[in-house]
Assembly symmetry: C2
Homo-oligomer: 342 residues x 2
């Protein structure tokens, strides 16, 4: 640290390092940026000088010079604060933060709750303040993915953005396969009247998991009964309400496949309140393997979404895009986790 006239500490600059090492600033910079065209002797001198001065690069200066910001946005666009209350969110956010930290890239957290927020943030992002965006937004009505894509911003979505086809890179779990596996598991347990509580049907997780459910019904030559299907909203209370609706429409169900653990926790509650036991009267299968799965009694049998891999993959793809590579959609497998509820 150098102390300037006013007594405030001024961090050492590349200039201090250069002087200390007896080389030019250009050489220090070259060392900092990969060490190409730096002689071993110069390298050693610079290394020592950096250690001695405690030099840390000034990222603002670097960014101004390179045009890159070396930072990434984690953009959450959920008007309903839905995802934010979901334990999955934490896992994803944490995973992305850690992965980015490994590359020394700070994560800027951005919340777009209103249209105003969205406009402000889109503007901020497209002005080059971040190099890329990790987008968490499930609703198809959300224009932000298209806006960012059109602006040429490197972008990876969590979950397939509906309606954008393959135009936006994304990482998603194998929703349809996972749903199939869960319903087969329910069938294998001897259940025959299997209800389903879906996610919002304007989300891929909503439609794909429903599709998987129908696939297996057909496969087992069981009729598809619309009265057995209720749309939920991925929230706990929504799960409770949906379960009550389902029970009213089809009191004879012996199992229910619920498209998220958080909803499933609500379903178990509602079932208990209606006097049914889980899994004896009604088996419950969830989806996610989030913290909600083990917080209820009985613990949920569920499809594990590999959130660690999802966040790792999102970061990997985003960095690849920033480096100029093309990336596409990635689907990661889910895994059946058998606990007590089914």
């Amino acid at each position: 640290m150098t102390t300037s006239a006013n007594g405030r500490r001024r961090p050492p600059t590349i200039h201090d390092v250069a002087r200390e090492a007896g080389v030019s600033r250009g050489t220090v910079s070259r060392f900092l940026n990969g060490g190409h065209y730096v002689s071993p002797a110069a390298r050693r001198a610079v290394e020592a000088a950096i250690r001695k001065t405690g030099y840390v690069v000034n990222r603002h200066a670097r960014s101004l010079s390179t045009g890159r910001s070396d930072s990434v946005a984690f953009l959450l666009t959920e008007p309903q604060e839905k995802f934010f209350e979901d334990p999955n969110f934490n896992v994803l956010l944490r995973g992305c933060t850690e992965r980015l930290a490994q590359h020394d890239i700070p994560l800027l957290l951005m919340l777009a709750a209103s249209d105003d927020d969205r406009r402000r943030l889109t503007r901020y992002i497209t002005s080059g303040h971040v190099d890329g965006v990790l987008l968490v937004s499930s609703h198809s009505g959300d224009p932000v993915a298209a806006e960012l894509r059109d602006a040429g911003i490197p972008l990876v979505a969590c979950g397939k953005p509906l309606g954008l086809g393959s135009k936006v890179s994304y990482v998603a779990a194998a929703d349809r396969d996972g749903a199939q596996e869960m319903v087969r598991h329910l069938l294998a347990g001897g259940r025959r009247r299997i209800g389903m509580i879906t996610g919002p049907l304007d989300t891929p997780g909503g439609t794909d998991r429903l599709a998987g459910y129908r696939d297996v019904l057909a496969e087992a030559e069981l009729p598809y009964d619309p009265a057995l299907v209720v749309e939920g909203d991925y929230r706990r209370t929504g799960g409770e309400q949906a379960a009550r609706r389902l029970l009213a429409q089809a009191p004879d169900i012996d199992a229910v496949f619920v498209a998220s653990d958080l909803m499933a926790a609500g379903v178990v509650n509602a079932l208990h309140q209606s006097g049914r036991s889980v899994p004896d009267d009604i088996a419950v299968g969830g989806f996610d393997d989030s913290a909600a799965a083990t917080a209820v009694t009985p613990a949920l049998t569920t499809m594990r979404q590999p959130y660690d891999r999802i966040s790792a993959e999102m970061v990997r793809m985003l960095l690849a895009q920033i480096a100029g590579e093309d990336t596409a959609g990635v689907i990661l497998p889910t895994e059946l986790v058998v606990r007590d509820s089914a």
Copy 2:
């Protein structure tokens, strides 16, 4: 947008705005920074030019020039990932992000899980990459608060950092008062053998809530029985285990005050498994009023921590510090929320 030779879009600069408005760059900058010493005519011209060009300030250039970063870190130092699994975390993080967004200040999320992380981040922070830090770290063993304070970084902690006295600004809930109110509520419900499951006793929430419990016992002239007190870890499973210990040590309790809702959810589970009904056999009082409170059955009677106010206050204080003002500790009141568990 101006299109440069290579076809990539180059965002408009202050120079483009100045040319468009027919003024100098200095005038545009002055307009941007409060509009002092800018004539009404110049102001109008600049406003129009900004609209027309779609100008957005380049924050890297500004930061390089001013020495401020106009960004803030949200630093979470919980080796145990404990807080991250707590629903309170979301509320706090969300609140801070929103408040900062109102001031157009991005939040950088930083996770210090290991000592290595901590060193890296401290270095990053003290190098001027952020203007201040919102610190979430309850453990007294954590050296990060002292390090940042010694480096002169504006800093506001969530919860009183133990051992640092009044040297670090913080925002906390009135833990002791809140605990008192809850135990009085239990007493008012006719309970006399009241157990307690505390938070970790190296945290202020751990010690202060226990102190409040003891206050009211003394006030009611009830003996303090160490067998009635078990230390928990703020986690759900920790709550379950603590409840079993408590039941073994004191099977005759008729109430238990639990220092967090997440633990209390585990406690309710354990109580049910032991065949006790809540609240008939044993009343359960929680703390936080987090999402966990309404996720269990019966819903928890709890002390509400005003997280919205806490995050608002943290941001306000941090911005004040960055502006050069002195700030101190702020204690916010908690509020009894009566539901079904007590």
